[in-house]
Symmetry: C2
Subunit: 346 residues, 2 copies
C-alpha cells in the first residue's frame, strides 16, 4: 500500500515519525508492504515552495491509498497580514480529495481519566464518535473584505448534507444505532435545511436508526453533563470543529484523539485532532498516541485491515494502562518522551 | 423606575414572577418605586397576536428603564415549516433596542460545585464574564433558501467590533484587567477583522488592559481545563452562544446564570441564559436564581443601584449556601419549589 506522509509543522514531524514506525512494525508482523513517501504541507511547504499545498503533494496524495498528516501552522506564519497561511494547505487538501466526512472518536481511557477536567463517574462507558462535515459550510463559502467590514458565507446543499448524514447513519448501524444531529435550527437557514434533510434521510433510508436533534448550544452542555448518552454525533463543519475540541476534554488530552477524513474515493486522510503545538516542538516530548491511533484508523478505513487496526489500538490501550504518559497526561513536570511512548506501543 | 416584564414561554412566567417579587422586596426595603408592566413576547405573543414581537411590546420596552425577560420557545411553535418562530421575537428585540453587548458572568458557587461535571479543584477561584456580541454576525446576516441549498451570511463591521470590544475592556478595568478575544482567525475573514480591530482598540485606547487571542476551538477546551485563567472573554455572537452554554457547566447548572444585554441607550434587557424548559413548565419547580440574578444585574446596570444589586446577589449566595436547591442542583428526585427558592432569597 502507498502511504503519503505529510509531517507539516511544529510537532507534526515528531508524531508522524512515531506513527510511521508503528505502521512499519505492523507491516513486518503481518506481512504487508507499506511504502511511505514524505511530502510537504503547511508552513514547511510555504517556506520551501511559497505554497501551503504544492501540486506535487496533492498529486502524490491523489495516487496514494492513504495520507497520514501531522499538523500545520505556527507563529512563524501567523502574521495577520500574511497572504498565504499554513491552514490553507489543510483546508485545500481536504477539499481537493473530497473528504467530506471527518470521523472523530472519543472513548476515554480508564488510565487517563485523571487528566480530564470532567468528574470520572461521568466518563465511564463514554464511547462516542463525532462525524464532522469537512468540505462545506462557512469554511469554504465566499469571503469578502472591504475597508470597513468583512463577511463569510455559510452555505450547504442538500447533497452535501445527505452524504455526510448517510455516512453517520451507516456508522451508527455498526455501533449502538443512535444518531444525534447538531444544528442551530432556531436561528440559521442552513441549520433548518440540515434538520429537514437529516430527518428525511433517516426516515427513508435508515428507519432502524434512532435520530435526535440537538441545538449546538445545548449540545455544548450535554456533551459534558451526560456524555454517555451519545453514540454518533453528526454536525456541520464549524460546529464540529468546536464540539470535538470540547469533547477531547472527556478523553483527558487532545493528544489522545485521532481522526479519519473520508470521501467517496479510496484515499482517506488521517491526522490527530491536535495542532502543531509550536511551544513544545522539536523537544521530543509530544504525545504520539493520537497520531498512532490515526494510523490505526488508516489501517481500518483505507486499507481494510481491521484486525491490524485493533492490534494497534490495543497496544496504545496497553501503554496507557501501563502508565506510559507523555507530559500532557502526566502529573506536572513528569512524562516520558515521544520515542518512549512509541516504543511502548511496539 | 419603569420595568417591562416579558415572561415569554415555558418556565418564563414562573421565573420572572419570582424575580419580580424579589425586586418588589428590594423596592420596599430601600424605598424605590418600581413600576412593572407585563407584555407579550415569543410563542405567547404568536398565539395572541400572530407576531413574536408585537409593536406594543417593543414600544413599552423602548419607553422603559429596563426589560426583564423569561424565555421564549417550545415544541408548540417548533414546526420546521413554521413561518414565525418565538426566537424571532427575542432576536428582534435585541436588535431593535441596539443591545449589542451581552454580559454573561460565570462564578461557580461553592455550594453548587457538586452539580458541575467539572472537577471541583478546577473551579475554585473561577470568576469570568463573557461579553458576547449580540446584534451582528451570522444571526442577522442575509439568509437564503433555494430548492437545493441554503445559506447564512456572517458579517461584521469595524464599528460593531469596536463598540463591543470597548465595552469588554471597560469591564476588564473594573476587574482583573485581562481580556481574551475569541475568534477563528485561521479560517474566517470576519475573525481576521475581529482580531485586527481588537488588537488596535486595546493598543490605542486600553493600553493598561492585557489582551490575548484564542481560537474558538481551543477556547472550548481551555474553558474546561483552566477556567481560572480567564477574566473577560469577548467574542462574536455565535461563538458566544456556544461558549456561554458550555461555561454554564462550570457553575453546575444553566439555572444559575444571569445575563445583561446592553447598548448605548439607557434601557437594558435582562434574562437568564437558560431556555423555556417546556418539559418542566407549569410545575413550579424551575430554578429562579438565574432570573433573580438577572434582576440584580438590572439594578446594577440600568438603575445604577449597585448596593441593592449586591444585596440580591448576597441573598442568592446565602440561599445556595444554606442548601436551598431546586431539582437541577439537588440530588436526583429532590429539590425545592421555585417559590421556596425565591422565599429563601427574600
Ligand atoms: C487548523 C484548522 C484550520 C483546523 C480546522 O478548523 O478544521 C483544525 O482546527 C482542525 O480541527 O482540524
Ligand atoms: C433562543 C436563541 C435564539 C438564543 C440565542 O441563540 O441567542 C439563546 O440560545 C440564547 O443564548 O440567548
Amino acid at each position: 500500500a502507498e502511504i503519503v506522509v505529510l509531517p507539516g509543522d511544529g510537532i507534526g514531524p515528531e508524531v508522524t515519525a512515531a506513527a510511521v514506525q508503528v505502521l512499519r512494525a505492523v507491516g513486518q508482523r503481518y506481512g504487508h508492504e507499506f511504502h511511505f513517501t514524505h511530502e510537504l504541507i503547511g508552513g514547511a511547504a510555504i517556506d520551501a515552495t511559497g505554497e501551503p499545498l504544492p501540486a506535487r503533494t496533492l498529486d502524490a496524495a491523489k495516487r496514494a491509498d492513504a495520507v497520514l498528516l501531522g499538523a500545520v501552522g505556527g507563529p512563524k506564519w501567523s502574521d495577520p497580514g500574511a497572504k498565504v497561511r499554513p491552514e490553507q494547505g489543510l483546508l485545500a487538501i481536504r477539499k481537493a480529495l473530497g473528504l467530506y466526512a471527518n470521523l472523530r472518536p472519543v472513548k476515554p481511557h480508564p488510565a487517563a481519566l485523571g487528566a480530564s477536567p470532567i468528574k470520572p463517574h461521568l466518563l465511564t462507558g463514554v464511547d462516542l464518535i463525532v462525524v464532522r462535515e469537512l468540505t462545506g459550510g462557512v469554511y469554504f463559502g465566499q469571503k469578502q473584505r472591504t475597508a470597513t467590514s468583512a463577511s463569510d458565507l455559510c452555505e450547504y446543499s442538500v447533497e452535501e448534507i445527505e452524504r455526510v448524514v448517510r455516512r453517520a447513519c451507516t456508522l451508527a448501524r455498526s455501533r449502538r444505532g443512535h444518531v444525534t444531529s447538531v444544528d442551530k435550527a432556531n436561528v440559521l437557514e442552513t441549520s433548518r435545511l440540515w434538520r429537514e434533510v437529516t430527518t428525511r434521510v433517516v426516515r427513508d433510508e435508515f428507519p432502524d436508526v434512532t435520530l435526535e436533534h440537538q441545538l449546538v448550544d445545548s449540545m455544548a452542555m450535554h456533551l459534558l453533563s451526560r456524555p454517555r448518552e451519545y453514540d454518533v454525533i453528526v454536525t456541520e463543519n464549524m460546529f464540529g470543529d468546536i464540539l470535538t475540541d470540547e469533547a477531547s476534554m472527556l478523553a483527558g488530552s487532545l493528544g489522545l484523539l485521532p481522526s479519519a477524513s473520508l470521501g467517496e474515493g479510496r484515499v482517506g486522510l488521517y491526522e490527530p485532532i491536535h495542532g502543531s503545538a509550536p511551544d513544545i516542538a522539536g523537544r521530543g516530548v509530544a504525545n504520539p498516541y493520537a497520531t498512532i491511533l490515526s494510523a490505526a484508523m488508516l489501517l481500518r478505513h483505507s486499507l481494510g485491515l481491521e484486525s491490524e487496526a485493533r492490534c494497534v489500538e490495543k497496544a496504545v490501550d496497553g501503554a496507557l494502562a501501563a502508565g506510559v504518559f507523555t507530559a500532557d497526561l502526566a502529573p506536572a513536570g513528569r512524562g516520558v518522551s515521544t520515542q518512549a511512548a512509541m516504543v511502548a506501543v511496539l
